[in-house]
């Protein structure tokens, strides 16, 4: 029995050690290229929810600015993408990006693939599943890639006991979930997933965060 406990503790330690990876090791190209300017590409929507594309787009700008990057105005770039037939980012996901460097002056382009965009009124959950891919416009290489499946808990516990209390909580949860915009899950997903992204020029830890812990390339979490 004692051996099993030791074995369990050891495997736990090994697992936690194996997961510890620094930003410098996980995203070396971010530090090599040090992109300053980022163009946010229109999201690639793999869900049935047509509106997800336009709405999710608006969630990307502020978190990237907060990471210390110069991010082009989403409203202005979206207008330009629509007028220059660049609205379908699928065409550029693996293609040449030099035109974004020439036209915008962008060092990198942020692609996002929306894989899940759901609302569960009874369970009280909003879900956003998104993959984030930052590619260099200079070399075409992937500088940063991470995917997240983030659930936002919108459940309400009214505190009442018994069956009646449970029914009230259920109804309150359903109403709260139904009236909470799904874009909230998109926002939380972006902030959560990009939290381990190396900081840009305007960040307080620019070029000093190589030793910070990076998260796993796929992250799943439930947030409030």
């Amino acid at each position: 029995m004692r051996n099993y406990i030791i074995l369990g503790v050891l495997s736990l330690l090994l697992t936690s050690c194996a997961k510890q990876i620094t930003r410098g090791a996980q995203y070396p190209k971010m530090y090599e290229e040090q992109p300053l300017t980022i163009a946010v590409m229109p999201p690639i929507n793999q869900t049935q929810h047509v509106e997800a594309k336009d709405y999710f787009y608006t969630t990307l700008y502020a978190p990237l600015c907060e990471k210390g990057y110069y991010v082009y105005s989403p409203m202005m770039t979206m207008e330009m993408f629509q007028s220059e037939s660049a609205y379908d980012a699928e065409l550029f996901l693996e293609g040449d990006l030099t035109q974004f460097r020439n036209v915008l002056g962008a060092d990198a382009a942020m692609f996002t693939i929306i894989k899940s965009w759901k609302r569960n009124n009874v369970g009280g959950k909003l879900t956003a599943g998104v993959e984030y891919i930052l590619r260099s416009t200079k070399t075409g290489e992937i500088l940063y890639r991470r995917e997240g499946l983030i659930k936002v808990d919108t459940s309400i516990n009214t505190g009442g006991g018994g069956l009646f209390g449970a029914l009230i909580s259920l109804a309150a949860t359903a109403i709260n979930t139904a009236t909470t915009d799904k874009v909230i899950a998109g926002r939380k997903c972006t902030v959560y997933v990009l939290s381990d992204m190396p900081e840009g020029k305007y960040g307080t830890h620019f070029n000093q965060d190589q030793g910070f812990t990076a998260g796993s390339s796929y992250v799943k979490a439930t947030v409030q």
Partner: protein
């Protein structure tokens, strides 16, 4: 009671620390621009403009600077609303604050003035 008071003070201190970790103050601009994207009415546009004004004039973030793109977006909307000189002033302010934006903003100014 005293413990509760100390806990409340500590919590509010922590909360203020979190605010100070932000490079910029965004006010309600994210919600306002989202509402404008969703429903481009005069009302949502006015609200977005109001929030941009707050972001431009009352920065309390770590950088004490207007976030990237905000001067440009505000100027762009002003120009489209017919306030051309004022709009150009804000577009130029973007280049001044962020020289890396010059290529894009100069192109936009050229397109607007065509």
């Amino acid at each position: 009671m005293r413990k509760l008071f100390v806990a409340a003070v500590l919590l509010s201190a922590l909360a203020s620390c979190q605010t100070q970790n932000s490079l910029y103050t965004w006010y309600n601009s994210e919600d306002a621009t989202y509402a404008y994207t969703k429903k481009g009415t005069e009302e949502t546009l006015n609200e977005a403009m109001l929030q941009y004004e707050k972001v431009i004039n009352n920065q309390r973030g770590l950088r004490r600077a207007v976030p990237p793109g905000v001067n440009a977006e505000y100027g762009f909307l002003l120009y489209k609303a017919g306030k051309k000189n004022e709009g150009l002033k804000f577009l130029q302010a973007e280049i001044q604050a962020y020289p890396e934006s010059e290529q894009f903003i100069s192109r936009i100014i050229k397109q607007l003035e065509k």
